[in-house]
Symmetry: C2
Subunit: 475 residues, 2 copies
């Protein structure tokens, strides 16, 4: 039994302004319309013998991740979620993942670890490589997937292959090398037998736990304590990791804690095409260039510009005389960068975080379990939102002390609780919710409900909300 | 008597995306918060003996121009407007201006021609120069203001000075030179006695009309016919130029038609500082640079960028590693250009015009006689506007066949006619206007009225409007 374990945690600060704290890069829609998480699920489900996929992610991303899962056909496969209260690196995450899988499937289950921020082409090769890895894993090996370097990249870690494992494509690992200098990376390529460390792994639950027991026994004990504390909180669909005990576990990567120390670690050279979606420069390569080398998403006019990447959601972008530039446009923030310096976006994000700037955390459009809301205008005295509610979904029964709300249905049908009344509000009808009234909005129909909300009051913060009842456990 | 004649016609296509067909550069707000037209009015009113200012502009800009006039103290001075149905160059405009001024003030009135797209510093020198020019004009001269070149600019016309006019600062004109080559411009600076042609003039009505009679008699006859046809349409406040006869007048500049041919044309070297706000590069010079040479308006984060100009209305702009770039951000269009190529914005505008693109014509915020409206969202099925109505102002009594409107007052008080009812709608109250209902919105109060309008219907074009009564002559 093969269980893909999808690691979907990272914020992806280098992909701001599209990626934000509340909308990490795993949810970003790429040029082809699908997200990295969607692609990872599709990849996981394409492998043989997969009846269950475990996603390890932050608990804030649970509903959004579940929506991504359900947006595709998953033919008989069950999604399970292990939810972190905060990021704590890969060793604690995979240890808890192994304990969760053992509880249901025993020691022999094979874990296939898939970071959700990779792009993999050539699915047939991927499936074949995974099958080869699973066979080696079943023999007790800890398998890493090594990527044949295409250039002397100094931003990745490398794995050195030593002797071949008989009757397999794998090699014993001769060493892990942290991000090397450009010269060293160059020498690896000349020498051959050095691979990029993809962060993808394959091992049995037993092999992983034994390695923890041998090389990181304290971490194992901490992880087991955390698991014990967490199981009390689990439902069938998802398991919330216990915050107090989780914070006790060492914050360390699986490479450092286990892989670099294990005797039975092997590297399997991958035959699939792999890329790490780590920067705007990398992302831009996914869009086909025009005859001047410009790659555009959205409405763009280029005058004498070349080799630029331009992404715009809904505004016209005109460029004049640019070369080798990246322009990324969103409704509330714009990035203009030289193409070879896009990694410095992290510096921008750092400054925004320090200022507690709105564009650090959320987009104008925010995902909620029931759908989305988009802030169209926020003047301080009034706020206008477009609220989209999925068929059958419902917001919580709630109350605001400081604001009244005017609701106008512009698409679909709403069922509204307003004080002690309950009514249906049709397209082109409206209702008024005075401050202090309990109210609830629901989409009873089979098409999406779109509503315009005009809030009016002295205080319009999102925290002026009292929830009485909620379908998503948020009271 | 000195009558400033403000020429405020040009679209300013090189200043897109802020300047647009419906919002020409004369109305653009500069870094100091005031517009070029405002500055021109202030300049005109600062001169001695000014009791009236004539603005020649497109009729579409009448209400906006009048609002600009009334936004400042104009101490006893009367605004008058001559409204063109379309642009027809400076000779027809100034000829009709002269005929209009003669009709009220006679032949001896002195016209001071001020294009509204200039920036002039050092007001004392300006006033003194205007006084000197007016004296020369009263002696029958056609006075041009010459600007001492600061660099060999090949984008301007030049005026060559010949012999000095006794007991004055003026010189007879030795010749007009069209935009010269860079080498020729260089040689003018070395030789001295060559001035930029500012497009500012000073002459009496009589001197101008005599010059027309001598050098362009046909044009004079056409202009007089147009004036005769136009006076039937004039009110005290403004005069609409007759379209049919106006289109018959030759489309030619005052320089070509008169100045280059006149014997009594003189150039007065200006002592004030002058700049032509013709490009983003020129505009950027009005903003003080930081220690890296970056000039910013709005919220900007620069990482390793230098010598850039960044203007943003309401979004955060982050730049990385840029040098010598211009970024101009508006709610629906973005310009990113090399600083030395901003004149190519015209090429962008040309393409937009060909496509009949929304960003060629209007901004999201549109000026109306009664205030402004801003499109916050236009989905096709519904449209959301913020409508701001000035105290005492009123929209027309109107009707739409295809859309209903929900009105929510978020600031101030509205008087609403809705079918056969009339009511007051207070802040945080709403009303509903069904399709087919006559309705009118008015601000009876003394503070601005802000209203959110949600339109719903099969067709939401601005042309679905039947006007029954309008305070601004638009029925």
């Amino acid at each position: 039994m093969l269980i893909p374990v999808v690691l979907s945690g990272g914020a992806g600060t280098r992909l701001w302004p599209v990626s934000r704290e509340g909308h990490p890069k795993t949810f970003m829609r790429l040029a082809d319309g699908s997200s990295l998480l969607q692609k990872t699920y599709a990849r996981a489900l394409a492998c043989n013998d997969v009846s269950e996929v475990l996603t390890i992610t932050n608990r804030d991303y649970y509903f959004h991740s579940k929506n991504v899962w359900h947006s595709q056909t998953s033919a008989g496969s069950t999604p399970r979620f292990l939810l972190e209260p905060f990021g704590r690196n890969t060793a604690p995450a995979l240890l808890l993942g192994a304990l969760k899988i053992r509880a249901r499937h025993g020691d022999d289950a094979v874990m296939l670890v898939l970071p959700a921020d990779h792009l993999i082409e050539n699915l047939e090769h991927f499936i074949a490589d995974v099958q080869a890895a699973a066979q080696l894993a079943s023999q007790g090996y800890l398998v890493t997937f090594g990527i044949q370097p295409t250039h002397p990249e100094s931003g990745f870690g490398y794995i050195r292959a030593s002797e071949k494992i008989p009757s397999s494509e794998g090699y014993r690992v001769g060493g892990f090398i942290e991000k090397p200098s450009a010269e060293k990376a160059e020498s690896f390529i000349r020498a051959g037998g050095h691979y990029w460390n993809s962060g993808m792994f394959c091992f049995t639950v037993q092999a992983l736990l034994e390695a923890f027991s041998r090389h990181a026994p304290q971490l194992l004990a901490q992880g087991e304590a955390c698991w014990e504390a967490s199981v009390r909180k689990r439902t069938d669909a998802h398991c919330d990791i216990d915050e107090a005990t989780f914070s006790q576990i060492e914050d360390i990567s699986i490479d450092y804690a286990i892989m670099e120390k294990g005797e039975n670690v092997i590297v399997l050279p991958a035959r699939f095409d792999w890329s790490d979606i780590g920067s705007w420069h990398a992302l831009s390569q996914l869009v086909a260039p025009d005859e001047h080398g410009n790659r555009s998403i959205g409405e763009v006019i280029n005058i004498d510009s070349s080799n630029c990447f331009i992404q715009s959601e809904d505004r016209l972008v005109a460029t004049i005389g640019l070369d080798d530039m990246v322009i990324v446009d969103t409704p509330d923030a714009l990035l203009v960068s030289r193409r070879d310096q896009t990694q410095k976006v992290r510096e921008v994000v750092k400054q925004l975080k320090q200022r507690d700037h709105a564009t650090y955390k959320l987009h104008r459009t925010v995902s909620r379990p029931w759908g989305t809301y988009t802030v169209l205008e926020d003047s301080g005295r009034y706020k206008i939102k477009r609220i989209e509610v999925k068929p059958g979904a419902s917001l919580s029964l709630q109350l605001h002390y400081h604001r009244s709300e005017h609701w106008i249905v512009v698409c679909g049908m709403a069922r509204v609780v307003n004080g002690d009344k309950e009514m249906l509000v049709n397209t082109n009808e409206s209702t008024y919710i005075p401050a202090g009234h309990r109210h609830r909005l629901e989409n009873p129909g089979v098409v999406e409900l779109v509503m315009i909300e005009v809030q009016s009051g002295d205080y319009l913060g999102e925290d002026d909300i009292v929830r009485f009842q909620d379908n998503y456990g948020r009271t």
